[in-house]
Amino acid sequence: MTRKQKRLSIILGALAFLGTATGLTFYALGQKTSYFYMPADLTTASIAPGQRIRLGGLVEDGSIVRDQGTRVSFGVSDGGGHVEVVYDGILPDLFREGQGVVTEGTFDPSGTFVADSVLAKHDENYMPKEVADSLKAQGVWQED
């Protein structure tokens, strides 16, 4: 190989590398990110069972049901819709009825949301950002 060819092959190699990395990034952005929905959005959007999403809203009063083991089910609503959520694990410290919550997981074929993570607000003043925005947009929750 001449010097020129060598340099060309190095440049091509680097370009191929960057191309692969870019492609991978775009692929991952399309596949591996999860969209955020509120229960009201779900009445119009159709989410296929198995697609990962993040679901936010307020925990409905009196909807928390624990079985003997570690499974918990509760309702999430935003005034415009309602979703039944089941979760197997430990709920966060600040998980309470009437409080904002963000869960991540997938719908099972029966329409129940199976969450694998549940986040509640972090401190007394913190409402998960997405939940607060959407609730404000719908007028359910107001900042004074």
Partner: protein, 381 residues
């Protein structure tokens, strides 16, 4: 005085940092290439060391030496080309130096003058608590109570006493926590549950949130005739647009109220307005206004006016310190009118207008607001 001396001293030190090097003798700086050569020489020494230790191969060391040698040669050539062109001190440089020297005191005193608070001494807590409790403000007394409750968080009576004080000091979040603690430790009572509901309502800015509704309902479970709880529950219904239901609830409440109850007037008025709303069949939210709520709750507590006086005095004091607060002035004027102190209200209006600036929009708004509240006397001026 000591404070100003310290400030002066600091300014002098800072200015000296600029003046001294400018006044110093001009040292001839070594040209950049001299520095470079020193680095290259060090690199050569390093190559020798590495070669000695066997960290790099013989051939590699030879190449490295040759390369560094080439760099030194190149540097010599470059040095001759760019014979350092040093100009003497120009007028520009002298002017700039002067500006630099002046900038330090002028900028610092100028900026500090506009943002500093030199009249305020430091107030470490230990010194302040050593003062006589008689001189303490209401805030300080509350702080003492808080300190006590921190040490004894299970003192339910303490929470019970503190909770309504928080509410009157317009610290609703703390009031709610205190009521919750009192309920937890002393058990629920209609007064505590209503207080909690009221505090939650205050936090929500007058809207009745769901947890407040729950609190009022718990209060009614204990005392089915608690007027405050019933009134607020009706308010909640009205806010949700269930005006007819709200009116029904209020009518039921009116039937239960004794003839002498201070609530009658407010409830009757509210019903009347609700009916009017309903007949207009508008979808807009109706219900009792904030003033009604305040008036009603005012009647239920006897010592309220004393408390209000203190609050108003505090507001007045705060505005004297921090006058740029149009809403604060409006509140002050209204408060004096509510307390029936028209002279004070007029005085507050005058001071407010002066503080906000005679011709400012905020001042005009304040005057208009005062006129609405029935303050007289501005027209004469």
């Amino acid at each position: 005085m000591v404070f100003w001396i310290v400030l002066g001293l600091l300014t002098v030190i800072a200015s000296l940092a600029v003046i001294l090097p400018l006044a110093g003798r001009r040292e001839e700086a070594a040209s950049a290439s001299v520095h470079d050569i020193e680095v290259y020489r060090d690199q050569l020494a390093e190559v020798e060391r590495d070669a000695e230790r066997g960290l790099i191969g013989k051939q590699e060391a030879e190449q490295a030496r040759a390369e560094i040698g080439r760099r030194i040669l190149k540097l010599d050539g470059a040095d001759k080309n760019s014979s350092e062109q040093r100009r003497g001190e120009s007028a520009f440089a002298r002017g700039l130096a002067m500006a630099g020297v002046l900038a330090v005191p002028l900028l610092s005193w100028g900026i500090y003058n506009s943002i500093g608070s030199p009249e305020l001494p430091g107030q470490p807590l230990a010194e302040r608590l050593a003062k006589n409790p008689g001189e303490s403000s209401i805030d300080e007394l509350v702080a003492r109570a808080e300190a006590h409750l921190r040490a004894n968080p299970e003192d339910g009576r303490g929470w019970d006493v503190l909770a309504p004080i928080y509410a009157r000091l317009e610290r609703p979040a703390e009031a709610a926590t205190a009521y919750r603690n009192a309920i937890r430790l002393l058990g629920p009572s209609a007064a505590r549950e209503t207080g909690l509901g009221e505090a939650l309502m205050m936090s929500a800015g007058g809207v009745v949130p769901a947890d407040a509704v729950n609190a009022f309902q718990r209060a009614l479970d204990i005392d089915g005739k608690d007027p405050k709880a019933r009134f607020y529950l009706a308010t909640a219904m009205a806010q949700e647009g269930r005006i007819a239901e709200a009116a029904d609830a209020l009518r039921a409440m009116l039937a239960d109220l004794p003839e002498t109850s201070p609530w009658r007037g407010v409830v009757e008025q509210t019903i009347a307005r609700a009916e009017e709303e309903a007949s207009r069949s508008s979808t807009a939210q109706a219900g009792p206004t904030r003033e009604d709520v305040e008036a009603a709750s005012g009647m239920s507590a006897e010592d309220r006016s004393a408390m209000i006086e203190i609050m108003v005095a505090q507001l007045d004091e705060r505005l004297r310190e921090n006058p740029d607060d149009p809403e604060g002035w409006q509140r002050l004027v209204r408060s004096y009118m509510v307390l029936g102190k028209a002279d004070e209200a007029r005085d507050a209006l005058t001071r407010g207008v002066a503080a906000l600036g005679e011709d400012s929009g905020a001042a005009r708004e304040l005057v208009a607001f005062a006129a609405e509240q029935g303050v007289k006397g501005m027209e004469e001026r």
